[in-house]
Symmetry: C2
Subunit: 470 residues, 2 copies
Amino acid sequence: MDHSGADFLQLRPAAAPAKGLTSWLTDAVRTAISDGRLGAGARLPATRLLADELGVSRGVVVEAYRRLADEGLVSARTGVGTVVTPPGPAGRAAAGLATPAVDAVGPLLPLARSAELDLSPGVPDLAAFPRAAWLRAERAVLTRTGAADLGYGDPRGLPWLRAELAARLARVRGVRADPDDIIVVAGVAQSLALLAHLLHRRGTVAIAVEEPGSRGARDELVHWGLTPTPVPVDGLGLRVDELARTGLDTVLLTPAHQFPTGVVMAPRRRRELLDWAADGLVIEDDYDAEYRYDRAPVPAIQASAPDRVAYTGSVSKTLAPGMRLGWLIPPRDLHADLVAAKHASDLGSPALPQLVLAQLIASGELDRHIRLVRTRHRARRDALLAGLARHLPAVEVQGAAAGLHLLITFADDLDDTDLADRIRAAGVRVHPLSWHRQRPGPPGLVLGYAAHSPGQLHEAARRIGEVVRR
Amino acid sequence: MDHSGADFLQLRPAAAPAKGLTSWLTDAVRTAISDGRLGAGARLPATRLLADELGVSRGVVVEAYRRLADEGLVSARTGVGTVVTPPGPAGRAAAGLATPAVDAVGPLLPLARSAELDLSPGVPDLAAFPRAAWLRAERAVLTRTGAADLGYGDPRGLPWLRAELAARLARVRGVRADPDDIIVVAGVAQSLALLAHLLHRRGTVAIAVEEPGSRGARDELVHWGLTPTPVPVDGLGLRVDELARTGLDTVLLTPAHQFPTGVVMAPRRRRELLDWAADGLVIEDDYDAEYRYDRAPVPAIQASAPDRVAYTGSVSKTLAPGMRLGWLIPPRDLHADLVAAKHASDLGSPALPQLVLAQLIASGELDRHIRLVRTRHRARRDALLAGLARHLPAVEVQGAAAGLHLLITFADDLDDTDLADRIRAAGVRVHPLSWHRQRPGPPGLVLGYAAHSPGQLHEAARRIGEVVRR
């Protein structure tokens, strides 16, 4: 791999502090190595070339390369130039500050190899994270927030954020909640933990889940003592008749964009679910409802039955999963116990990110950002669809109307785990559908498209097609 | 209360964005109202006077006051000027953005009334939170961090932060840990939650705790299914002979500065505890060990028995409790299960604050900040000690050598809960010692001094003395 230097890492020296160009360049290259953009063996641009392109003195580049060499991250090879050192215990240890990329949906998965195309679902376009807007908002809140906001706070979260969330969720998702009904949590994962532990303590032993459905959620429920009971999903969403047949009184589901099939729950099924919910509890995971490409998203189920639905969502798909910031809006009869559980778990979520999110909502920056990435995500979805149409014309594509991933299924009776392994050997990481199943079913692959450029997605489709046709 | 305007709220218009002076002023006054610096009935400076003092046009001040009036936060009174509206459902609802002060150690306590002197223990000098350094560090990490750091990460926390923590804790606390041994958590509260739930699942039913000891910790253990069994603390620390007599194999304690007595565990007791730990597990809550005023703190117990101690601490007392950021370093045989528990609880702690903390440690800013606040805290402790010596010469003072609080005990057989109520009626909030007891014992008051100026602490001592002598 050779970098001409013209757009090497999209470096912008204007972003560097006036007196710290060398450190800035060193850090930028170190980060690119640690997050896999520069893989082992990648050649860095010649110092003179890069200096010219950046408009900095050549000494800056020479010194940056020297520091990286001291850290064991790069080495000079005669006749080749400066190349990235293969990772290894020695190289990593010497790097010290390097923060290796970890990019699995479930962090307990093995790490993706650098330089492969990782189409694991669930990760948005992280390169689009609004760093400038976030920093602006943080400066604003740090300038004016009172010291009391930094103390031990309300375990439900800061009142300002809960007020902003109540208004925003009412507007974009039809959610019916007062600010006092909302519990700010560390993402949907914490909502499930709090709910599952509470239900378990109240004597619940099993909970209905979608089949196929999120493996991460299922594993989490098991950790907290609940047995996930599979209920099939078809082209209209969860089979509510089958749900009724389980005799269970609690279900976890993703009606706006089912994971992993991508099915949007049909109006008829929603009505059936609401009837069922008269005697049951619905846990509504609204994980990526902001991304609907064909028309406005249908409101949350919670909007129709706030007394029977525990609604949860997060900024993982709109800002970044690493924020660990979300919300739980339970029915009122569970509220006090869940607040006590949140308090006993961590006393409450961190204050500063809550203030920053409130500021981003209040200023309109969050909506602006979502509009921007929705457009980008749609273009990426279209690129993947076009690539699949060209390289895999025979497969059926599902779930493209919304979200950050789609599902392809195969008519043949193939082993999708084996297929995913072979695709990974060709440099593309995807989830086999069976990974998200408890029972046997038709084979498929779950493809996340949000984190890659159209060109990368075309390439991924090409490689997948090659493996499938082999 | 009248404000001359000269130093009204310490406003610095230079901090305002060039084109947003009105919003800046509105926000600053709103924040002061919401955090209690401006209580109900407080009179705002005359618009002309404040405009002159700030060097802004009078229209800016008039417009800011108008917006605050629209929000129901202030109102104009004939002949008096603009005054802060008493809080009430209507006023608060209209305010919308207001974030009322919450300042209890245990957030489920009732709120402190504004304008009272709150000497609840456990809160550092929040006004000293290093806002500028935090923002600088955040800018630095946002500029250079890779997108992968914002994705789903390692549930143990970011490698860079774990490396910085391992080095720092070794240096300042003697802690023996590799970066891979550390689990980044949402404060000591989460460490206790993870440990308690795991121990409960492994069949533990009871755990030894200090008597007196933290009520918040005790309540949390109960939530997670463990029964806290009291073991007395005397002037040398936990009575290890009594611990052995319980027959339990797990103990939670605060050896560096016992909460609430302030006792530093004596060398002899430490040796006894290490002997006991050969067959038991020690949970070492090192919550405020950074603040030792007479000499360098003794190392953590963990330094002597890393295989038998689960060590935990946080930035709650060095930066702010609202950060919700801490660390857990368990014995290796508990490590994997605790990582799985952290993953099942919230997938991992938020990425950005971890990066910022790593940057603050790496740059030396955290140590600089701790040195600064240690000096301030010592001056505050001295002021409280002087006030107590003058106004309560008969009481015994304990625990002044370290930490952010001290304990006064009384020879008489009085009811300290009743005493604390009467002191609160005189405008000072303190914890009665019995609040942190499970068994009857001598009466006392726990006084936190970090969050108040020397003048306020003198005044608090005067009021307490007046009530005690009554």
